[in-house]
């Protein structure tokens, strides 16, 4: 049995331990915001946070998350400044990649309160948007960065279960 914390809740799974985390999140815990795109870690639609780092869930065996903290798009709870910026800049078209884009961008803002254009591109260039809403993704990241003077920490249950946004 593998135990981990999913969006602040302690959970466990008995699936074969080589199962990619993606299918556990989607099909066992029914959190459908994390998407299946390429299955080889190259589109970023399945990006989640494991202990705060961006990880491609489609290739990440569930056995490696034992005792770790996982955050998915649902775990941002509609409270992350990126989500507001995504609406303000009207980023999504089909929207399928956007959970992954937001989760990837969130880890940038967690360590860099004011990323440059170059830093944004470097951090985001492994996330494919097939509708090619790239200009707006860039703009929304800047908008979110400008909305706060601090880095944006992401939900970290280790901090007494408190959320810091």
């Amino acid at each position: 049995m593998i135990e981990f914390i999913l969006n602040g809740k302690k959970v466990s799974t008995k699936v074969p331990d080589d199962t990619p985390l993606l299918w556990v999140i989607r099909d066992e815990f029914h959190l459908k915001g994390t998407k299946f795109g390429c299955g080889i870690s190259m589109c970023g639609a399945c990006t989640v946070h494991i202990d705060g780092d961006p990880v491609r869930a489609c290739k990440y065996p569930v056995k490696l998350v034992n005792k770790k903290q996982i955050t998915t798009i649902e775990g941002l709870n509609n409270e992350h400044p990126l989500q507001e910026a995504w609406i303000k800049e009207q980023v999504p078209q089909c929207g399928y990649c956007q959970s992954g884009q937001i989760m990837q961008a969130a880890t940038l803002l967690a360590s860099n309160k004011d990323p440059s254009e170059k830093e944004i591109v470097a951090h985001m260039s492994n996330n494919l948007c097939r509708c090619m809403a790239y200009s707006r993704i860039k703009k929304a990241i800047k908008t979110a960065a400008n909305s706060t003077s601090e880095t944006v920490s992401i939900f970290d249950p280790a901090l007494n279960g408190q959320k810091e946004i």
Binding site: V15, P16, T19, P20, W23, D27, H30, L31, K32, G33, T34, K35, F36, G37, C38, G39, I40, M42, C43, A45, T72, I73, E74, L76, N78, Q83, W86, I87, Q90, V91, P92, Q93, C94, G95, Y96, C97, Q98, S99, I102, I120, V121, A122, M124, S125, N126, N127, L128, C129, R130, C131, M132, A133, Y134, S135, R136, I137, K138
Partner: protein, 769 residues
């Protein structure tokens, strides 16, 4: 040139009465099911009995909420928002109370297709009229409730106001009784607002579908679960047609936990030929089982065909004067050729391409009381439903398709072939199933854009004027395989032509002598299923037309923009037809002039930099979207790398409904065009595309995005399409810019650094030689 009438007649809501009636606690408004006067006499009764067949209808409840049903697929174009804005504007609704619902495939919704950049174009007039009829009915009922005359009242923001007094839509609906029919004639006579009186159309708004796409709650086909379902993965055969299974060996799959077995699929519709699928209790087990199972085939001859063979066949066909069917035949090109001082010739190619929507195709299927319920995202339900009926050997009444958000369409989901393995598996296995294609399965089954070859010959007279152009092109035709009923008779009556594979060649340049031959490349057709890919015919035909126009300009020492303007005179057939193509080629000339100043054409450029231009009229002459594009590029002559610094576009799409949504469509389209021009290309090997995932197929990423300057012409003209036309001009504009920067003329898409290096080397050795 009006070659799409067949399909348009099916889609358009012409000649139908409009019904307004109280049903239950709501006010329902809908077009009647039967055309003209043969309809039911009683609106209430017809509405209550659901005798209506609109692509559009809406209702208002006691709380004053306006619920607008959307029969179009949401593929990222925010179509529900645009259509709802049209209704709400005429209705006088309070926008904050407008909701949209994406509907299922009940026949009452009428003909269902989302493609061709048609949705706004086809819906604008009927939706405006429907909104206006609703407004008048509410105004009259509101006036009665307030004890006033209708002519003392107006409708504003969800209220009927008569002087000091006012009553809300919600109160009118709960207190009034409606039973009214607007005849076709009455509808047509309703005053539709002009530009300056509009409240929502052309004004900024937030797209209604966007918030759910920022928090994981937007539901796509792949997110559906039904009780008791098992997972399935298809085993895609080595090519599209003609493979038969000789043996299935699942010895290596049986030990995979959760493996449930396999089914061999027999498909009476013949969409699937040689298919097996595996079943498991989890999708991961299904993936592993699919990798482990060994299926042996008697392979189709198509599995020996390569892209190069298809292209050699295309070259041969375009040079065979007897091949193909006449699409344009003006003047006498032979005479022009004989009298010419110079004859120019060029041949252009495009490679196979994939749509690659990020959500792999999928469908979840369950049979309830003998009815097959399909949960999926699809763009052309009215084409797909008969296909499924054939595969299941049932009538269409036994099938309901439930629509979800589409994780990208780009034309891939017009054809519902990916639903067939799901319904056949569910039927064979006797349980609900969720079938998901892996990315590789999806790519191998996907109908790619066909590779193409186009040959041009131009005649130039002693005065250095172009006197004629002959144009022949060969490719696989999507419509021939998937919807042959929409082909049309050629000018020489030799056969039928695929409109979606020839639009783009009947351009708006005035040429006294112009002949166009459309040729089906049978080798392509027999090898794979050619797909309709975003921007379809114009997407590859404009590549040839606009590159060749530049070659003529260069050969005749003319500025590429001046040269084009000299042919965009709006004479004869290029004068346009009101209202759809009002002013014709002159509007194309207008956007071209605008982009000239917008892009600072002719301004100073850095070393190895160039500017190139291209224009398009969008998807079809009967729905022209006028676009001009200038690309500013830098070419690295040592490694052949092309950097696109800026793309400037001027767009005239008539009335803009949802400005930010319109801009998003063009932004996405333009970057698609850039990606197709420089980053994609998926050659066919052994009868199937060769690059199945992102380790080899490399669409544009964020780092490759150039500066974009996209400007719209302010216009009151009829609204046309925007989903595709943004794609069209980018590749030829880049090729023309590369030519200006370096003298290198690239005639093959995608444009590769190696091609540039090769060209430069050859030029160098020619100089030395």
């Amino acid at each position: 040139m009006n070659n799409l009438n067949g399909i348009k007649d099916k889609i358009q809501l012409s000649r139908r009465n409009f019904l307004v009636g109280s049903v239950g606690a709501s006010l329902l408004m809908a077009f009647s099911v039967l055309p003209g006067k043969s309809m039911a006499e009683n609106a209430k009764k017809a509405l209550a009995g659901k005798i209506f067949s609109p692509n559009v209808w809406f209702e208002i409840n006691e709380r004053g909420e306006v619920l607008i049903n959307i029969a179009k697929a949401e593929i990222g174009q925010h179509i529900g928002t645009a259509l709802a804005r049209i209704v709400a504007d005429e209705l006088g609704a309070d926008w904050s109370k407008v909701r949209i619902v994406h509907v299922d495939t009940d026949p009452k919704w009428g003909y269902m297709v989302t493609g061709g950049s048609w949705s706004v174009f086809h819906s604008f007039t009927p939706l405006s009229q429907a909104g206006a009829a609703g407004r008048i009915a509410l105004l009259e009922a509101g006036a009665v409730l307030l004890g006033k005359n209708g002519n003392e009242c107006e409708v504003i923001n969800g209220y009927v106001k008569c002087g000091e007094k006012s009553i809300s839509f919600g109160d009118i609906v709960s207190k009034g009784q409606f039973n009214r029919i607007f005849t076709v004639e009455e509808l047509a006579a309703l005053p539709i607002k002009s530009g300056k009186n509009r409240q929502f159309i052309g004004k900024d708004t937030m797209a209604l579908d966007i918030p759910s796409k920022t928090n994981g709650t937007a539901k796509y086909g792949i997110d559906v679960e039904v009780d008791g379902m098992v997972y399935a993965r298809p085993i895609v055969p080595p090519s599209r047609y003609g493979n038969s299974i000789t043996k299935v060996n699942d010895k290596k799959a049986v030990n995979i936990p959760g493996y449930l077995g396999y089914e061999i699929l027999n498909d009476p519709s013949e969409t699937l030929q040689g298919w097996v699928c595996v079943l498991a209790t989890s999708y991961y087990s299904a993936i592993k089982a699919g990798d482990a199972i060994v299926v042996s085939y008697k392979k189709s001859p198509a599995t020996k065909v390569s892209e190069e063979q298809i292209q050699i066949e295309g070259e041969k066909l375009t040079r065979d004067k007897n091949a193909g069917n006449l699409f344009v035949d003006d003047g006498n090109v032979e005479q022009a050729t004989l009298e010419a001082k110079i004859n120019l010739e060029a041949s252009y190619r495009t490679a196979s391409l994939l749509h690659f929507p990020l959500e792999p195709v999928n469908a979840t299927v369950e049979f309830i009381d003998d009815v097959c319920h399909i949960h999926t995202g699809n763009q052309w339900q009215s084409l797909t439903m008969p296909l499924i009926a054939k595969a299941l050997n049932v009538t269409q009444e036994k099938i309901v398709m439930h629509q979800y958000y589409l994780g990208g369409g780009f034309g891939r989901r017009l054809f519902g072939d990916y639903i067939i393995p799901a319904v056949l598996t569910a039927k064979a296995y006797g349980k609900p199933i969720k079938m998901v294609f892996t990315r590789e399965d999806d790519s191998r089954f996907s109908p790619p854009r066909s590779p193409s070859v186009q040959l041009f010959n131009a005649s130039v007279d002693a005065k250095n004027n172009v006197t004629g152009i002959e144009h022949a092109f060969a490719a696989g035709w999507p419509t021939l395989s998937m919807a042959p009923q929409f082909m049309f008779e050629s000018l020489d009556k030799k056969g039928k032509i695929d409109p979606f594979s020839s639009n783009g060649a009947d351009h708006w340049y005035t040429l006294d002598n112009h002949r166009v031959r459309a040729i089906n490349n049978k080798l392509a057709q027999d090898t794979f299923l050619p797909g309709w890919l975003r921007s379809v015919g114009p997407g590859w035909l404009c590549w040839g037309v606009e590159s060749f126009m530049d070659e003529i300009a260069i050969a005749t020492n003319k500025d590429p923009i001046d040269f084009r303007l000299s042919l965009l005179d709006g004479r004869g057939k290029n004068a346009g037809t009101a209202p759809v193509s009002n002013h014709g080629a002159l509007r194309l000339a207008n956007v071209l002039k605008k982009v000239r100043s917008q892009s600072n054409w002719g301004g100073e450029l850095g070393e190895n930099e160039g500017m190139g231009v291209a224009i398009t009229y969008g998807q079809e002459r009967t729905m022209p979207t006028w676009i001009a594009c200038v690309a500013h590029v830098h070419v690295n002559k040592s490694n052949g790398k092309v950097t696109v610094k800026k793309l400037s576009l001027t767009v005239d799409c008539g009335t803009v409904i949802h400005p930010d949504g319109a801009l998003a469509q063009v932004e996405g389209g333009v970057l698609w065009g850039l990606s197709l021009a420089l980053h994609e290309g998926n050659e066919i090997k052994k009868g199937q595309i060769s690059k199945t995932n992102l380790d080899t197929y490399t669409p544009l990423r964020m780092g490759d995005v150039p500066e974009l300057d996209i400007q719209f012409i302010e216009s009151d003209e009829i609204s046309v399409g925007l989903g595709e036309p943004g794609v069209v001009t980018v590749a030829p504009a880049i090729a023309n810019a590369i030519a200006q920067a370096t003298g290198v003329r690239l005639r093959s898409l995608p444009m590769r650094p190696d091609d540039i290096i090769q060209f430069l080397k050859e030029r160098e050795s020619n100089k030395i030689g």
